[in-house]
């Protein structure tokens, strides 16, 4: 009896709802000063470039530090972009879901909007590195331009971190809860980046779960890490050249010999050659491997966010 009476009325579907939410988010970009995250990314990048930029792409140590710095910028930017974006309007999302909003549309609109912000931040970060006169290569390994190669990596790290914090934002009930979780994520990323602290066994395996590891690997690979000189040994030798053994200073003799014969660069390259890391070999496979892993992380976090958002109707009053 009832079936015939209900008129077939169609409402906006999943795809057509996306522009509605995109519109909302882009207006938020303007009205709620969300645009400020873009210049902020520039300021942070400038600070990092000022501190660690001078030796980036020049030595193994400088490249590791610089890459870690850039990776940290990306993760920081990504986390802050979206950590509050869902939890701050959780009750609105619940209400809208009950009145016809599709979770997929809402989520995809978020993903697109966040990707847009990440693209801007990546462009700004790379631009700041260029302006800060980091001695970058010109020719890229994957694309014809190194800047573009680097921008893709920076984007993928930022975006994966952004999606990770979007997941946190989707299950945290309040902004306070989300902001409490964030430092733990940051510490995890830093500790398990795989290059800053010597880890082995289970802890080393855990590094595979950190975005920092793949970001750092990718940036080091693109910087041709294995072809760079390692200066730590030379610096230590210079530092300890006055150490006397049985009335003689053998280290100083070696230092002077190498300086007199212009062997310092060769020595540093030889030391570097002995410290090569296979997974940082400058091959397309290594770069794509890191890119794919970062992309996979982003996808996993999007799927997790979807499942968390689907449970939003269960929220109590």
């Amino acid at each position: 009896m009832e079936k015939s009476r209900v008129k077939r009325i169609h409402h906006k579907g999943r795809l057509t709802q996306i522009p509605i939410y995109l519109g909302k988010f882009f207006r938020m970009f303007i009205y709620e000063d969300d645009w400020k995250v873009v210049p902020m990314a520039g300021v942070i990048a400038a600070l990092v470039a000022f501190v660690v930029g001078s030796n980036m792409f020049k030595t193994m140590e400088g490249t590791t530090m610089g890459s870690l710095g850039i990776t940290c910028i990306c993760i920081w930017n990504g986390f802050f972009n979206s950590i509050q974006s869902i939890c701050r309007e959780r009750s609105i999302v619940k209400r809208e879901h009950r009145s016809g909003m599709h979770i997929t549309s809402y989520l995809l609109a978020h993903v697109i909007y966040q990707a847009f912000i990440c693209v801007l931040q990546s462009a700004v970060t790379v631009a700041v590195c260029v302006v800060a006169k980091m001695s970058m290569p010109v020719i890229g390994f994957i694309t014809p331009w190194f800047y573009l190669d680097m921008a893709i990596t920076v984007f993928l790290i930022t975006f994966a971190a952004d999606m990770m914090s979007l997941t946190v934002s989707s299950f945290a009930k309040t902004t306070t809860a989300a902001m409490t979780i964030m430092p733990f994520m940051l510490i995890f990323e830093l500790l398990f980046s795989g290059r800053m602290f010597q880890l082995s066994g289970f802890a080393e395996t855990l590094t595979n779960l950190s975005l920092a590891k793949w970001g750092l690997n990718c940036l080091c690979t693109q910087a041709s890490y294995n072809d760079l000189p390692m200066v730590t040994v030379w610096n230590q030798m210079v530092k300890f050249k006055n150490v006397s053994i049985m009335g003689e200073t053998p280290i100083e003799d070696v230092v002077l010999y190498m300086q007199d014969n212009n062997l310092v660069s060769d020595f540093n390259l030889a030391v570097g050659h002995n410290s090569m890391i296979d997974e940082l070999n400058m091959t397309a496979k290594n770069i794509f491997n890191s890119w794919i892993n970062l992309g996979l992380f982003a996808c996993i976090f999007i799927v997790l966010t979807f499942f968390f958002l689907k449970r939003i109707d269960r929220d109590k009053r």
């Binding site: 207006r27 009205y31 009750s91």
Partner: protein, 450 residues
């Protein structure tokens, strides 16, 4: 050498101090449960006793987390004891487990402190007693349990009173093709260890064109009732809106039901017009011509007096305007059933009346408008009917009355709606506690026995 292994009190993974601590806390909890009116035997059931303890000191939610953390900490500790060989082999695993234990212990510590704050409140003791509880909880329980000077402020009431809850009316609302027909048998929730009935035996018909007041004291089940009617939280019920089953056709019917919650659930960073336009895009049929959609938005702007502020940012509007925007957002889909949860909260008398008058006009358009308000008497002339919900002796939400305003005044022999609420509220809530009596009386009236 480990001297403790020779101690006769050492049992498996527990050492002497553990055993003594368990005995002390069990005795302490046994005596505390006795004072709090909780079944004493629960004190002998590990973990569950902690939940009952938290529940009895009015910290049930904290108790759940406290128990889960406790279980996890104990579980990890036992796991580590049995698999110590692997931990020696893989020190990183040990670090990871220790890290997890530290976090869990921190949570456990915080939540156990919260539970003991509850204990102090119940026993009217200073909060500094929590410090002892954190060092030696068993000793504190022992002291609280045995000391004759320490008595609980109140004992948590049992689910049922001495009084018996009002009998079911046996009345069923007629299923009609016009208006709203509500037949709720019950609405229950399962909460971990128990099932609670929130609503029972609510049957009524609301004809189109009525503005209905939903009245009831705090916790009488007003919002639960509305959630059941709108299909957001399904009950054991049959709800028909203009002949269509809300539950079986929820995906379609949800556009025909407007629900305005108490809080303004709108984004403050958008313009008024865009907020309405987005709501229209989401809720109006996708095949509706753009011109018609625009006309609908313009009409709603006029109905709620929002035209002068349509290009302004929502967050910069006054409280009254935000409320009207919130209502307009729901009204955009032109629903046949329009429900508002305290739309006048925070508004002064003039603004509240203005808002209610607009809602009254909407109802004259053939819509059903149901409103919850805690200040009904200032606008009572605008309502056609009243639904009165009250808690019975089982603390379940029941229908105390449904009818016109005049009939309500006659039934309760009161002139003011606020006096009606006072009449049905429980005595411990400052009311007269006549809820059960009136529920039965209304059942008899409906069945033609009076």
């Amino acid at each position: 050498m480990d001297g403790s292994t020779n101690n006769p009190l050492d049992i498996g993974i527990f050492d002497t101090s553990d055993v003594i601590s368990i005995i002390i806390s069990t005795i302490g909890m046994y005596m505390t449960f006795k004072k709090l009116g909780v079944n004493k035997l629960f004190s002998l059931v590990p973990v569950y006793r902690d939940y009952k303890f938290a529940q009895s000191v009015d910290r049930e939610d904290e108790g759940k987390i406290y128990c889960i953390c406790n279980l996890m900490v104990q579980g990890i500790a036992i796991f580590r004891t049995f698999f110590i060989r692997y931990f020696t082999e893989f020190p990183q695993l040990d670090i990871f487990v220790m890290f997890a234990l530290i976090i869990l212990s921190a949570i456990f510590f915080i939540y156990s402190a919260r539970v003991f704050f509850g204990l102090c409140e119940i026993f009217n003791m200073k909060k500094r007693w929590v410090i002892l509880a954190m060092i030696a909880p068993g000793l504190e329980l022992l002291y609280f349990g045995f000391s004759k000077k320490i008595t609980p402020r109140y004992i948590e009431p049992e689910d049922t009173d001495d009084k018996e809850a009002a009998a079911l009316s046996g009345y069923l609302a007629k299923e009609t093709n016009e208006g709203l027909s509500v037949n709720i048998k019950s609405r229950t929730v399962k909460n971990h260890f128990k099932t609670k009935t929130l609503l029972r035996d609510i049957h009524l018909n609301i004809e189109p064109g009525n503005m209905v007041l939903l009245l009831g004291g705090s916790g009488a089940g007003k919002t639960t009732f509305l959630n059941a009617v709108t299909g957001y939280e399904a009950a054991d019920a049959k709800i028909l809106l203009n002949g269509d089953d809300v539950y079986t056709r929820f995906d379609k019917m949800k556009y025909n039901i407007g629900f305005v919650p108490q809080q303004d659930l709108i984004r403050y960073n958008d313009t008024v017009y865009r907020t309405l336009a987005d709501a229209a895009a989401l809720r109006l049929p996708s095949d509706m011509p753009r011109k018609e959609k625009k006309e609908r938005i313009e009409k709603v702007l006029d109905i709620f007096g929002l035209r002068p502020v349509k290009d302004n940012i929502v967050g910069k509007q006054s409280g009254g305007q935000k409320k009207r925007i919130s209502i307009a957002t729901e009204f955009i889909s032109d629903p046949s059933l329009f429900i508002l949860d305290e739309p006048d909260s925070g508004l002064d008398g003039i603004l509240a009346r203005d808002l209610m008058t607009r809602l009254h006009e909407i109802s004259r358009d053939g819509k059903i408008v149901i409103v919850i308000t805690h200040t009904p008497d200032r606008v009572i002339d605008l309502f056609d009917k009243v639904i009165v919900l009250g808690k019975d002796a089982d603390r379940t939400g029941r229908l105390v009355f449904y009818g016109s305003i005049d009939e309500a005044k006659e039934f309760f022999n009161k002139d003011k709606m606020e006096d009606i609420v006072k009449m049905i509220n429980r005595e411990d809530e400052g009311g007269e506690g006549k809820s059960d009596e009136l529920i039965e009386k209304f059942g008899e009236v409906r069945n033609g026995e009076i």
